[in-house]
């Protein structure tokens, strides 16, 4: 009995700090968000009692489903493009020589060390009407008048893919690197040509990486509001911007909180899917 008590005391000491951290920084804010979503807004942007379901009913009434749909569509496009660009990139890194490999991985990680706002400003300078790309194209006589690239949906998609590509590349890289090279040799030995080896051996064995990469791209893509703010100029509304606006400009905290909750629920569903599919890993 004493021993059991002592053991549980030890485990409290060990997991205690993590538990407190989770309570304060994860659970408490979540409870607050849930709470706020059920309160009424005050004229000057605060929240007060009584409890109200107004946020949720206004959500149904207004055309927010369209915005949510647009956000999911953008996230899906981003994810697909990240996978398409990320897979070959990951394959090249995974198959590069031992000397080069760490440097290539470093290059993938490098952008994380620079604030993403600053990196997006970089894109703005490139894409502007008087920007570098337009200047070069006009200068070379390829086009007569500058193209309007900034503040378009294309620019937003470009920014999203740019921001999230590393999240797709890293899990893909890990799963491609894990493949035993003798499996590829065996497939060739058994008569498979390159594209058949890819379809029958490499792709199925890297599916866990593909799933991980998609989830890790798709989830952040849903909430990424500043890319569309900066490169889209707010021309198209996405769920991330919508939530941000409710808190900052529209001063409708209950609605913002309710929308955020919807986003959190979608994320949880996807994460569940991810861990389930992630079990594929055991098979490999």
């Amino acid at each position: 009995m004493v021993q059991r008590l002592r053991r549980s005391a030890a485990s409290v000491v060990m997991i205690g700090p993590t538990l407190v951290w989770l309570l304060v920084f994860l659970l408490a804010p979540l409870v607050i968000v849930v709470g706020i979503s059920f309160l009424s807004k005050t004229p000057y942007g605060g929240v007060s009692l009584p409890f109200s379901l107004e946020a949720y009913s206004s959500m149904v009434k207004a055309d927010y489903a369209k915005i949510l749909g647009r956000s999911i569509w953008l996230s899906a496009k981003t994810t697909v493009l990240c996978l398409l660009f990320g897979y070959p990139l990951a394959a090249v890194i995974a198959r590069s020589s031992k000397k080069v490999k760490p440097w290539l991985v470093l290059l993938i990680m490098l952008p994380f060390w620079i604030n993403s706002m600053i990196r997006l400003y970089g894109w703005m300078t490139l894409l502007r009407t008087e920007g570098i790309i337009n200047n070069i194209l006009v200068g070379l006589g390829i086009i007569d008048s500058p193209l309007s690239m900034l503040y378009t949906d294309g620019a937003v998609l470009l920014g999203m893919v740019y921001e999230l590509l590393p999240f797709a590349v890293l899990p893909l890289y890990t799963s491609i690197e894990k493949i035993d090279p003798s499996l590829i040799e065996a497939a060739g030995d058994l008569g498979a040509k390159k594209h058949r080896i890819f379809l029958r051996v490499i792709l199925p064995l890297t599916m866990p990486g593909v799933f991980a990469g998609s989830i890790q791209t798709f989830i952040p893509a849903l909430g990424l509001f500043y890319v569309s703010d900066m490169l889209g100029g707010g021309s198209s509304m996405y769920i991330g911007n919508l939530i941000k606006n409710q808190f900052l400009s529209a001063r409708n905290w209950p609605l913002g909180a309710a929308l955020a909750l919807i986003l959190i629920i979608i994320t949880i569903i996807l994460m569940r899917l991810y861990t389930k599919v992630g079990k594929l890993d055991d098979m490999v």
Partner: protein
């Protein structure tokens, strides 16, 4: 190009360089139809590289490889009529046993009905009936090995290449798989090229053994010949146990040859050896005889150091006056010499094999017998 009749693989002056490092040096040999050829040698001798060049995983730096008389220089592995069994099995982990075996048939676009039939035939051949739906992770090492063999054989290759296929199995299973593989090969009549560093495996399974060292083939012959008449010092040392002695020849009138060693005199069969030459000879432990009294023509004396019981025989270790140690294998029922006793060493002259001295090759010479370390440690403890 006209194909030599019955020759499946022909290696002509095959060289492989990795950068400045030459790992295979002008290798020449032929493999006949239905033959079981083993490439035997220590790790890093170039045996696996040679096999991988036949499979097409490695390019040939110089020379040619002919498969059925056809130069395969520009043929990819998938275009060659050979299949490989890999050391680590290399089964596709996402496919069950059936799909693994059918992999090559699907690539060849064999219709489903025939595919199923051939897969089942293979499952029966390697005695894995009813295991078709299992995943590789659910199989034991021996079963995985059988799937790997079935997956290669189902394509009916002209040559089956096996890269240390039994290396990961425990001793008992390895012995069992050795005889299974040998029977399989005899039954199917397919040419096997087998890579191993295990001399016993090579001796028991092969029709011919190519002993490789430092990228060259030291000897290629039947197991019996390789064991009884090793061509070089390396072969004598690598295969079985050997007592190797170096000395001067001195011709005698009766066709015999006297050799003068640092340790004393001895007789050998003189065929093909000139007068006053420096030669190396090899005497197997089972051919080394011990006597209490001097034997005519021999004058090598030593002291019995110890007896080592090996189960089927007893090895008597003798130290010569110059410290060189020899091993004699004696019948366990025979009366043993006392440890410390002085003995005279002799052999039947025909049993001493003259080894080729290859001055152009530099060996990492293993001067002592392979069990020397064990013998030393035993002596110290005793």
């Amino acid at each position: 190009m006209q194909a030599d009749k019955g020759i499946v693989v022909k290696m002509i002056d095959v060289v492989k360089n990795y950068g400045a490092n030459r790992v295979v040096k002008k290798v020449n040999f032929d493999i006949s139809e239905g033959e079981f050829l083993t490439l035997l040698g220590p790790s890093g001798c170039g045996k696996t590289t040679t096999l991988r060049m036949i499979a097409g995983f490695e390019t040939v730096t110089e020379g040619k490889i002919l498969l059925h008389g056809e130069n395969v220089e520009n043929k990819k592995p998938n275009e060659r009529d050979v299949n490989t069994v890999f050391q680590n099995y290399a089964l596709f982990p996402h496919m069950n046993v059936e799909d693994n075996i059918a992999f090559g048939l699907v690539e060849k676009k064999i219709p489903k009905a025939e595919r199923t039939e051939r897969v089942n035939e293979m499952l029966a051949l390697v005695r894995l009936e009813g295991m078709g739906k299992r995943m590789p992770s659910q199989l034991s090492g021996g079963q995985k090995q059988r799937v790997a063999i079935a997956r290669a054989l189902v394509n009916r290759p002209k040559v089956l290449l096996l890269d240390e296929p039994l290396g990961a199995l425990d001793l008992k299973l390895r012995k069992q798989m050795q005889s299974e593989l040998k029977h399989l090969q005899q039954k199917l009549g397919i040419t096997f090229v087998y890579v191993t560093h295990d001399q016993e495996e090579a001796l028991t399974m092969s029709d011919r053994i190519a002993v490789m060292n430092n990228g060259i083939i030291e000897q290629i012959d039947t197991p019996k010949e390789v064991y009884n008449h090793p061509a070089t010092k390396f072969v004598a040392d690598f295969i079985g146990e050997s007592n190797i002695l170096e000395g001067y020849t001195e011709k005698m009138e009766n066709g015999k040859m006297r050799v003068l060693f640092e340790e004393g005199k001895a007789l050998i069969h003189g065929e093909g050896v000139g007068d006053d030459e420096i030669i190396c000879i090899c005497v197997r432990p089972e051919n080394l005889r011990l006597s209490k009294t001097p034997v005519e023509g021999f004058s090598i004396n030593g002291k019995v150091i110890e007896h080592i019981f090996t189960g089927s025989a007893i090895k008597t270790v003798i130290e010569l006056v110059n410290g060189h140690r020899l091993t004699a294998s004696v019948n366990p029922e025979a009366e043993l010499f006392d440890v410390g006793e002085s003995v005279h060493i002799y052999w039947t002259p025909e049993r001493a094999v003259v080894l080729k001295t290859q001055e152009d090759t530099v060996y990492d010479v293993i001067e002592t017998n392979p069990n020397q370390a064990i013998i030393d440690s035993l002596t110290k403890e005793g």
